[in-house]
Each structure stands twice: as structure tokens, then as C-alpha cells.
Point group: C2
Chain length 221, copies 2
């Protein structure tokens, strides 16, 4: 750690957004809070409504990268933060372990490399298989009576919180990249084999480990 | 001060909003963060788009109070917080003195009574005569390169920040109501007369005093 400040690269990743207006409003919020990388997985048309609502941030739409699958989009991203407003449910709980927005922004600057902020579909959010590929789940605290936020509002809150944190509190950088992280997961996978962990439980246990490590980076590596 | 916690009543006041979609999205954000009072001054039509974007928060639109003037809307509100993204300009500077969102939410719970959160038009915000009636100016930090936010996003950020503050940090209440405040302003006005303050400067000086007191409540009465 050289103590030199470096702002991590954030990638705003929208998975199958349905409304151009939302995508445009998100581009504008990105410009308001100085984010520039927009990744779109199977998006709707970036129509007139989309450009109209982006206002002076149309350059972000022009520069957006479009992918045909989630796997493709996350290929060169080191750390994935998933957002979901869906509450924990029974056996899927390990997928849904979450940190609150304020906790995340306290620690995210410890991560080195490209950080993907992943937002799901307007109606049913992220699929479990998408969630399972993410390192940490982010939860925006909302009323228990009405959890589900407008997509562009959710993005805006996350970007604002990161922007304020970064603007008003100097950050130091550490060095944990994707390669080290994957080595750690590989080690754990081998460990499960060695201790004869039941094959049919292996995948689930690995996801759980990934999730725990995703949370751990938020406290202390 | 009896130490008993009481959440102040917040009134979301939109001055001449132009797009039904924005009003609907704001109603939804209000439900997400447990605000219920919506005041509308000369609003656009609350059209289908408005109701569609409010989703499960149509009850807030149904209960909204509509006013034909700003004066009428603020009549029974004790403390007014104005939001503006416009930067300070020369001689209007005393109108534009502002506190940042985080500062505001740190202290707003000290205010007793009805608090109005005032948001201006999508295109040119609040008029100076409207601003001059407010107790404090709120500024949401945004990029210097692109200051102007989507209206519903701005409201959403303010409500979220208040909600998080209120949900995670217990607040104590104090007792400064509108009557005491107006008495103080009256006293200051009389004082200006007694000291022979030039008549043509009086109104400006009064606004400045109001603004300084508005800020003062945020530190220590």
C-alpha cells in the first residue's frame, strides 16, 4: 500500500432494463455524480425518450457498451456489487446476504480494480444465477411497507452516496485484485474436495463462501 | 425539552412541477421512505403517466393538497427548506447561502413543528421571492460540470437521507415553533427602525437575518 489515492473505476451495469426513460435518467444521474462507464445487458431501445431524459448526458449513452449476456458483461470486472430490494427467503438466503448502502460506501474504496454496480430489471430484479456471481449484495434501506424503488432512483441514491463519500472523505487504496480473489476461491474449492464435502452441496457452499468473502472485504481482508 | 422522541412532520412541497411523470415518481419515493404529505403549487395535470409512475403510492397523489399560490401553501408550515442547484451569484448571494444535504439532516430534527421541503420547477427552480421566504437553502452536492438534477431524483435523495438518519439514529426534539421565530424576526425588524437603518436596504437586511437564523437553527439556537 503506497498511500496514494486513486479512485476506483465504477461500472454501472444495467441488466435488461425495459424503459428507455429509466436508462436516460440514469445517464443523467451518472453525469451529476461523475460516473462515466455504462454497461447494458440486453437493453431496451435507447429511444427518443431515453435521450430526452438524459439531457446533457447523452455522451454517456453514446459511449455505453452493450452486451448480449451477463457473463460477457462481467468478464473484465473485478468486483461485483448487486442491488436487490427483494427480502431474504428460506434456502436462498445465502444469495441474499446483504450490506446496507452506508456500510458499502464506507469500505468499497478498499477494493482495487474495476467495480461493477449491478442493477436488475424493473420488474423482477436480478436472477439467482446472476446474484450468485456477485461478490456482495447491496440493500438500500426502504420502508417495509413499500420496498420496491424506481430503478433510476435506486441507481441515483447509490451514485450520490459514493460521490459524497469520495468528495468529502479522502480514500486510500489497497491491492486486492481479481486474480488473488479467484485464487482464494479456487483454494476453497480444492479444500472442499479434500475434506470430501458432498458433491451435491458443493456449488451452494462455494456461493456461500464467495458471499462471505464479498462481505469480508467490507471489513478487513 | 422532555427528551421524548417525536418525528417532525415533513411536507413535500412542489412548486409548479411541469411533468406528471415526475410528480408520480416523487409520490413513489415518498412511500419508499415513509413520507405522506404532498403539497402542490399550481401543478401540471396529474395524468395517467403520473399515476402509472406512482405505482403503489397513488394514495399519496389522491391525498395531495393543491394550492394556487406559494404563500397559501406555506401558511401553516413552520420551517421551510428550499432546494436549489443554482450557484451563488453576486448580490443575490444572501438568498443563496446554503447548507449541504448531510449538514441539514444532522440538525433538522431539532426543529419542532411542520417542516416544508420546497422543490422548484424542473427548468428554472425557485424564484428569488420564493427563496426569500424560506429559512434555509439546501444544496445537494453534484458535479460542477453538471449541477442540474432530475427533480424526482433530487427529492428522492433528500427523502432517503432523512429516512436513513431517522431510522438509524435516535433523535431528540426541541421546541422552537413558528410563533417564536416570527417574534424574533419582528424584533429584528423593529430594531432596524430604531437604529435608523436605511429604508431601501431594510427588506434585504431582513432576508439576510432570516437566512442567518435559518442556518443558526442547524447549529445551536
Amino acid at each position: 500500500m503506497d498511500g496514494e489515492k486513486e479512485i476506483p473505476d465504477f461500472y454501472i451495469m444495467l441488466v435488461e432494463p425495459k424503459y428507455g426513460g429509466n436508462v436516460g435518467a440514469i445517464a443523467r444521474a451518472m453525469a451529476n455524480f461523475e460516473f462515466k462507464h455504462l454497461y447494458l445487458v440486453n437493453p431496451c431501445n435507447l429511444d427518443d425518450e431515453c435521450y430526452a431524459r438524459s439531457k446533457h448526458a447523452s455522451y454517456i449513452l453514446d459511449d455505453a457498451k452493450v452486451f448480449s449476456s451477463f457473463e460477457e458483461a462481467i468478464q473484465d470486472v473485478d468486483y461485483l456489487v448487486a442491488t436487490s430490494s427483494i427480502e431474504s427467503q428460506n434456502d436462498k438466503r445465502h444469495l441474499r446476504n446483504s450490506v446496507l448502502l452506508e456500510e458499502l460506501t464506507d469500505k468499497i474504496y478498499d477494493v482495487d480494480g474495476k467495480i461493477g454496480l449491478v442493477f436488475g430489471r424493473e420488474d423482477y430484479g436480478l436472477l439467482n444465477e446472476e446474484l450468485s456471481k456477485c461478490d456482495v449484495m447491496l440493500r438500500i434501506p426502504t420502508s417495509k411497507l413499500y420496498l420496491s424503488m424506481n430503478l433510476s432512483h435506486a441507481v441515483s441514491l447509490v451514485l450520490y452516496t459514493l460521490y459524497v463519500k469520495q468528495s468529502f472523505e479522502p480514500q486510500e487504496k489497497r491491492n486486492i485484485g481479481k486474480v488473488e480473489k479467484e485464487k482464494l476461491y479456487m483454494f476453497f474449492s480444492n479444500l472442499l474436495d479434500i475434506i470430501d464435502h458432498p458433491k451435491h452441496k458443493k456449488e451452494k457452499t462455494e456461493v456461500m463462501f464467495r458471499r462471505i468473502m464479498g462481505r469480508a472485504i467490507l471489513s478487513k481482508w
